[in-house]
């Protein structure tokens, strides 16, 4: 069993939890013992000398401990879980930012459904301690305590309780395993259905025109039905498993009473057995959700293995080259690394922007990504900027599909410059009026409220504000009118005259603005 209860708060929570568990179990046990004892005493003259103050006080004390302890357990447990969450998420974000998987392919997590599934995984991992380790450890400690008491009072009962425990754990584990498998199946099917639905909605006009719309969507919904079926069966299995495990408490309690009886205990001799039996009855409540805890554990394991794909990639960062080479050789490949054309060779020096002009599919974006250190370098020799890791430090890579972060305009510029500098840059990319309208640099903006053209210009502003020596622009004129794109780009080149600028485009009008034009395709 992997336990991930490391922080002090978890220890505090565990103390509260164990105290609460013991108080809860023994409250029922002591109360029952008390009733049985006084009932026996009440039958004879002992009634008058029976000291009921002590057990009555114990009962009240246990009741108070159980109440206060439960509150402490909840607060400490959740606080510790939230601490874990903050820690996990920051760590995961850093890992993803350093992972080559993030750089290599189309970013799937920009899609609502993929992001939601990813967040489900992150949450399963965040709260594993709260949903699995924490309650299981508490139940285990209380269980062991009760086993010790039972070993003293009615050891014979353990011969029945031991196999019952094994059966309860076995049933919980099996049902959790089956439920996790089904849950995973539901997840996969939902993912497939979601992706297919997205694709078919994008191509809905073609499906409708061809009369294929009904069939295509019926197939997708059939997948979604199977997913729902698997999810329901998963929950059903867990519930049925819990139903069987609910027998554990009453059976263990009965075993204690019968074992004591069998061993010859009678009258007063049975009182301790009553205490132990009712304690087992109460412990049954702690054992009942074991299946759910184990299920949460398996879900977290599955989630972690999926999140494990975001492995930190350590680059071999060689020494920074003394000078940036003035002549560049750029390979033209498809994303799989197969050659699409001859290498391009051109000078890249400050103040002389280079355009790579070509149709879509000629390999120009892949070449730019290699130069930016986002894809492994497949050109001749070592990476021209030393290594991929260094290339990422030395270049600003302006994505053609950059997005807007929900936050202020200032946040979105990713720069620590003074306000007047930011406004100057916004003026260059013709966004100053738009930002004024929105409410200034500290106005909150989001993807939904800005057009693609505005997002493209914001991305150009980010490039102007970066201090990288090399600026790589992917389709800088996308989503802009030709005249506006040319106007803005010309001003950008002027602003970047002390830097090396390389851009790829399919627009002749923009390529003509460059000092050097390389044609591919």
């Amino acid at each position: 069993m992997t336990l991930r209860l490391k922080t002090n708060l978890w220890i505090v929570g565990l103390l509260f939890g164990v105290l609460t568990g013991l108080a809860g179990v023994f409250l029922v046990g002591v109360s029952s013992w008390f009733l049985a004892a006084v009932a026996l005493a009440g039958l004879g003259p002992a009634a008058l000398i029976f000291n009921f103050h002590f057990p009555a006080a114990a009962v009240r004390l246990l009741a108070l401990i159980r109440t206060a302890g439960k509150y402490g357990e909840r607060v400490a447990g959740h606080e510790a879980a939230l601490q874990d969450q903050a820690h996990h998420r920051e760590e995961l974000f850093r890992r993803m930012a350093a992972s080559k998987k993030t750089r290599a392919r189309g970013w799937q997590l920009a899609k609502a459904d993929e992001l939601e599934a990813f967040l489900g995984d992150v949450e399963a991992d965040d709260f594993e301690s709260l949903r699995y380790s924490f309650p299981v450890v508490i139940a285990l400690i209380v269980f062991v305590a009760l086993v010790c008491v039972t070993a003293v009072v009615t050891p014979l009962a353990l011969t029945f309780i031991a196999p019952s425990t094994i059966a309860a754990v076995f049933i919980s584990d099996r049902t959790a395993k089956a439920a996790a498998l089904l849950d995973n199946e539901a997840r996969l099917r939902r993912g497939t259905a979601g992706r297919d639905l997205g694709r078919s909605l994008t191509g809905l006009v073609s499906l409708d025109a061809a009369g294929d719309r009904d069939d295509a969507l019926a197939g997708i919904i059939a997948d979604a039905r199977k997913a729902e079926g698997a999810a329901v069966t998963s929950r059903l299995g867990l519930a049925r498993g819990a139903g069987l495990v609910s027998l554990f408490g009453p059976l263990a309690a009965s075993a204690v009473m019968l074992a004591a009886w069998w061993a010859g205990a009678r009258d007063d001799g049975l009182l301790m057995a009553v205490f132990v039996a009712f304690s087992w009855l109460a412990l049954g409540e702690l054992v009942l959700p074991l299946g759910r805890h184990l299920f949460a554990h398996r879900q977290a394991q599955n989630a972690r293995s999926r999140l494990g794909l975001w492995a930190r990639t350590t680059d071999q960062t060689g020494p920074r080259p003394a000078t940036i080479p003035e002549q560049l050789v750029l390979p033209l490949m498809n994303p799989r690394g197969e050659r699409l054309g001859n290498d391009l060779t051109f000078p890249l020096v400050p103040g002389k922007p280079v355009a790579v002009l070509g149709p879509s599919g000629c390999g120009k974006t892949t070449a730019l990504k290699q130069l930016a250190g986002w894809l492994p370098w497949l050109g001749p020799g070592d990476h021209p900027f030393g290594s991929e890791g260094l290339a990422r430090l030395m270049t600003h890579y302006s994505l053609h599909d950059a997005v807007i972060l929900r936050g202020t305009v200032r946040d979105n510029l990713f720069a620590q410059e003074k306000d007047d500098v930011l406004w100057d840059i916004l003026t260059i990319v013709e966004l100053n009026e738009r930002v004024s309208e929105a409410g200034g640099l500290d106005a909150i903006i989001s993807q939904e409220t800005w057009s693609l053209g505005e997002a493209r210009r914001l991305q150009l502003a980010r490039a102007l504000l970066s201090d990288a020596a090399i600026v790589l622009l992917d389709e800088p004129g996308e989503h802009l009118r030709d005249d506006q794109a040319a106007r803005i780009l010309e001003r950008c080149f002027d602003e970047l005259k002390d830097r090396r600028v390389l851009f790829v485009t399919h627009q002749h009008v923009l390529a003509n603005l460059a000092s050097v034009v390389e044609v591919c395709g």
């Binding site: 009921f52 109440t67 903050a86 459904d113 639905l197 329901v232």
Partner: protein, 516 residues
């Protein structure tokens, strides 16, 4: 107020809910009876000193019965939830497969995919398990109180009297939590969404070299979130603390009163003079009176999620259905058609084969005319005639089927210069590349190749040569002209070379169409 999805699903599962409630009530009563049976067994063993075998066997059977009943009821719940989820999926299907195309495409496809994976289940749980849970709470409390009343109605009354006090506490704490939550709602929501938002934007953040700064910022936001939510939880957990307090207190109180009664030290009517079996019975039933309230508060979040899902399903539950108003005259044509953008289309009859080009400036309605002829979109006015043959549609967004290793397709790939890229030389490679790393121009050519594989079709192509370099565009033109010898090919295009090669050219103008 009951929303349409709630009403529709409610009707569909009404019978199931009644049956499940009955079975679960039976299971609950059997479980409580089993507890009483156990209390009776213990009482008999301690006081009477012997245990008839009949009682022992009876107790054993009593323990097994509620498990059997709950197993049955879980099966019924699963069946009812499956039924409800399938109804919701029927709505999704009807909307996606039959609603007007423009209406469906107005929705964000990622959001719709996300809803497809969450809402059927959430709605089904809200309509079945959550409802049953809500009904079973009072039933559970009443059953426990009722059985207790059989043993000692006074004890039951004492517990019943604690209820209003407990509920008063619930209301007070509920208000406090709500006030606190409302005051922090905006902050909490923003903080809780920060991680998702930064992950969504991660490539942009990385490209701007801001990963470290954003990670630090994220750490700060997550820490704030932790503080805010801990504060909120401290108040919210008081609710359960009240429940625990009353449940613990009732056990302690009853144990002491019943104990004093047994000793004969005090004489409370109904609490003294009970047999040990009866007082143990009262004791084990006491927490069962409070247990259902716990279940009720556990359902709160599920209920909120389900209600949200049900509300947002409203447009799907009664979506409009698209109708094909075209007349099946055997050949494509129009009479008095006015497009959705008000463009007037001159009457035309299109040939059975040949290349027809629809040209005109952006916004003149070229794509719209194609959609209208293809029956994807209805015209504002007028009549469209349709051919009795299948159609295929080519544009950059079109659905791309999986690849077949057909030799004819291979020839088409060569003709369309797709094989210039080594990935398209093998079909197996293609299927993996087909939806990911292909460029826009490659995608259009792939779609065209697939469309031409369908026999006997009218081919609609929207801007088939845009996004292509000269050589590829020429290959596409040649392919379209060749295809037009066997079928009708209608293209909407800005490409003057393609328009010149057409057998018929429909020239649209903004607002007014004058076929050439």
């Amino acid at each position: 107020m009951v929303s349409a999805p709630q009403a529709l699903l409610g009707d569909a599962v009404a019978r199931d809910l009644s049956v499940i409630t009955l079975v679960q009530s039976a299971s609950l009563i059997l479980r409580l009876a089993a507890l009483l049976g156990f209390a009776h067994t213990v009482g008999s063993l301690v006081i009477v000193g012997h245990l008839p075998w009949t009682i022992l066997i009876g107790s054993g059977v009593l323990m097994g019965l509620p498990v059997a009943a709950s197993t049955a009821s879980e099966g019924l719940v699963a069946a009812a939830e499956t039924k409800a989820a399938n109804i919701v999926l029927d709505w999704f299907l009807r909307f996606a497969a039959q609603a007007p195309v423009a209406e469906v495409q107005a929705m964000d496809s990622g959001d719709l995919a996300n809803r497809l994976s969450r809402q059927p289940g959430a709605a089904a749980r809200a309509m079945v398990s959550v409802k049953i849970g809500k009904w079973m709470s009072p039933i559970g409390a009443c059953a426990a109180l009722g059985l207790m009343a059989v043993l000692s109605w006074q004890a039951a009354i004492i517990l019943l009297l604690t209820m209003p006090i407990m509920v008063m506490f619930f209301v007070l704490i509920g208000r406090l939590t709500k006030a606190k939550a409302l005051a922090q709602e905006a902050t909490l929501q923003e903080l809780s969404g920060a991680f998702a938002e930064k992950v969504r934007c991660l490539p942009t953040i990385m490209a701007c070299g801001a990963s470290n700064a954003q990670a630090t910022d994220l750490g700060r936001l997550l820490n704030d979130y932790r503080k805010w939510s801990s504060e909120l939880l401290r108040v919210a957990f008081l609710n359960s603390a009240v429940l625990d307090f009353f449940s613990s207190l009732s056990i302690a109180m009853l144990a002491i009163f019943l104990g004093l009664g047994h000793l004969g030290l005090v004489s409370f009517p109904g609490l003294s003079g009970l047999s040990l079996s009866a007082s143990l019975g009262v004791l084990v039933l006491a927490p069962e009176v409070f247990q259902p309230f716990r279940r009720f508060s556990e359902l709160y979040h599920q209920a909120a999620e389900g209600d949200e899902a049900l509300r947002s399903l409203e447009p799907f539950a009664d979506s409009t259905i698209k109708e094909d108003t075209r007349l099946p005259l055997g050949r494509l044509g129009t009479r008095g058609v006015v497009l959705a953008n008000q463009a007037v289309i001159d009457d035309c009859d299109l040939p059975a084969t040949g290349l027809v080009a629809v040209t005109g400036p952006s916004g003149s309605g070229k794509t719209m005319l194609l959609k209208t002829l293809a029956g994807v979109q209805a015209p504002l006015k007028g009549q469209v005639f349709r051919a009795n043959r299948h159609a295929a549609w080519v544009d950059i967004d079109a659905w791309l089927p999986t690849c077949t290793n057909d030799p004819d397709q291979r020839t088409l790939f060569q003709k369309l210069r797709l094989t210039d890229d080594p990935r398209f030389q093998e079909c197996d490679d293609l299927s993996s590349a087909a939806h990911g790393d292909v460029s826009g121009g490659q995608r259009v050519r792939l779609i065209l190749a697939h469309a031409l594989m369908r026999d006997e079709t009218t081919l609609f192509a929207d801007e088939p040569t845009a996004k292509l370099d000269h050589k590829s565009a020429e290959a596409v033109r040649d392919t379209l002209v060749e295809a037009a010898s066997k079928r009708l090919v209608i293209v909407a295009t800005h490409d003057p070379v393609l328009a010149r090669r057409a057998h018929l050219c429909l020239r649209l103008q903004v607002r007014e169409g004058v076929p050439a």
